[in-house]
């Protein structure tokens, strides 16, 4: 999966988790929590959805990598390189 495809997946997941938010104006360089109403349970939803959909395992100590869209895509790119969208 290419980085732009991974971004699409994350946008799709965020759309489910935060259905009241406008994701069209998301700044990829800024932390999600500074732009969206997300709490720790929501971040666990992102982890869970990646696990369910793509069997991607994210160790708890690496959850911090999911802070922004840019950091999330960079972190997931090697993990999801072999996965088809």
């Amino acid at each position: 999966m290419a980085p732009e495809e991974i971004r699409e997946v994350i946008i799709e997941i965020l759309g489910d988790i935060a259905p009241d938010e406008d994701l069209g104006s998301l700044d990829d360089a800024v932390a999600f929590r500074e732009q969206l109403e997300l709490d720790s349970m929501d971040f666990l939803d992102i982890v869970m959805e990646l696990r369910k959909r793509y069997r991607v395992q994210i160790p708890e100590e690496e959850y911090g990598q999911l802070a922004s869209m840019d950091s999330t895509v960079s972190y997931l790119t090697p993990k999801m390189a072999e996965i088809a969208k």
Partner: protein, 421 residues
């Protein structure tokens, strides 16, 4: 007519209902609900649920997004959502200026028959798609299934910081929520109570399958005729979802703010059969009614309307009628009706909801009927059983509301009209 005992109490010890919020299968507010009950309009529809398949149920149609964001709906439970809708509607109806209410002095007391079955069944269904890999079991499962969930979701939504909890009391729970609120108000544990009951039970296949296995699930080719309390051909319960929450206050507080008053809780009782898991005990039920009347200082003939619990099961209806014939022997004045014939059994909400549908009788003077009784079972005969058509009673002063549940829990509340104050 004699006065209730509570009239001798200080107003700070007298508890009144000042707001009603409800979600019924045939109405989203008290006005709609009352109209449906007077017009004979059912809320039972065809329904399908996984594993069990096609059946019928009482399904609510309220607008959940009126008081919740989509994110809240996704995270929470159906019981929580029903509670949030009812609580917000009750507050609006009560006339309280919510922005200026001391939320630390508000208590939330919500009756439930059961909670967590829906969410647990759903999680198991979802992980079955992953070969039962528990690593995909939701982190939302525990906050969704803790027993205080429906009350806690209400507290979160309304930013209430006073006490909140649920009362697990099977199908007597709606009345039990009301009773708990009155006790807490009298103790000074809160100044405003949100009390009643909720049920999300139609979303668990287990309740349908359980009643079916027990031979107690109603079937009928016309869903609107399936819930048939007192009818010779009744064949069981129609499962329903719903909720009803009241704002309850001390009479002194209600008077001070010039509140509209639906009625005063003048009597109540809870007791236990201690005889069977599911079969009711009419002697204990009659004792529960007598205990509530005694607490109120009233006699049977002081009650104008009895809202029966009858669910449409063969034994349950006839045993309750036996209890009522004994408890109200000699009373010419008392009339009997039933709400489940319209909407099915709203479980934890039933007691509160069925009382609500009768409260407008204080203003309009009518007892709404029980419907779907084509051929009255002789074992269910009661003097002044109101069937099929509303009956004009003239002035209605007091309503007694029965609500009973499995494991032999019985509850009764008596509400008196205070003339609107």
């Amino acid at each position: 007519m004699i006065a209730s005992k509570t009239s001798q109490l200080d107003d700070a010890q007298r508890i009144v209902i000042t707001g009603v919020g409800l979600a019924a299968p045939n109405g989203d507010d008290l006005g709609q609900f009352r109209q449906a009950l007077l017009e004979g309009r059912s809320g039972v529809v065809p329904y399908e649920i996984r594993y069990f398949g096609k059946t019928i149920a009482g399904v609510c149609n309220f607008d959940a997004l009126r008081h919740q964001k989509r994110k809240e709906l996704r995270r929470g439970t159906r019981a929580g959502s029903i509670g949030i809708y009812c609580a917000n509607e009750a507050i609006r109806d009560s006339g309280w200026d919510w922005a200026n209410v001391d939320r630390s002095a508000v208590g939330v007391y919500i009756g439930i028959t059961e909670h967590g079955n829906v969410e647990t069944e759903t999680e198991i269904f979802l992980i079955s798609g992953y070969n039962y890999d528990t690593s995909v079991w939701s982190h939302h499962h525990n906050p969704r299934t803790v027993a205080n969930n429906p009350a806690g979701e209400i507290a979160l939504n309304l930013e209430i910081t006073g006490p909140h909890y649920t009362l697990g009391a099977a199908c007597a729970a709606g009345n039990v929520g009301i009773i708990q609120a009155a006790q807490m108000l009298r103790l000074g544990e809160c100044d405003l109570a949100l009390a009643g009951g909720v049920s999300e039970s139609i979303h668990t296949f287990g309740i349908f399958a359980g009643f079916a296995s027990q031979g107690a699930l109603a079937t009928h080719e016309d869903p609107t005729k399936a819930s048939r309390p007192f009818d010779q051909n009744r064949n069981g319960i129609v499962v329903a979802e719903g909720g009803c929450i009241y704002t309850m206050e001390r009479l002194s507080d209600a008077k001070a703010r010039g509140a509209k008053i639906y009625g005063e809780l003048v009597g109540y009782a809870i007791n236990t059969d201690a005889t069977d898991f599911v079969l009711p005990n009419p002697e204990r039920q009659a004792q529960c009614v007598a205990k509530a009347l005694n607490r109120a200082g009233l006699n049977p003939e002081d009650i104008d309307i009895v809202s029966t619990h009858a669910t449409g099961t063969s034994n349950g209806d006839s045993l309750e009628c036996e209890a009522l014939r004994n408890a109200f022997r000699g009373s010419q004045r008392t009339h009997f009706n039933n709400t489940k014939s319209y909407i099915g059994h709203c479980m934890g909400a039933a007691g509160a909801l069925e009382l609500a549908g009768n409260l407008p009788a204080f203003q309009d003077g009518f007892a709404h009927p029980s419907i779907n009784c084509d051929q009255l079972d002789p074992e269910c005969e009661l003097p002044n059983l109101v069937l099929e058509q509303p009956r004009e009673l003239g002035k209605v002063r007091r309503i007694l509301n029965n609500s009973f549940g499995m494991l032999g829990i019985n509850s009764v509340v008596i509400i008196e009209d205070l003339g609107g104050h």
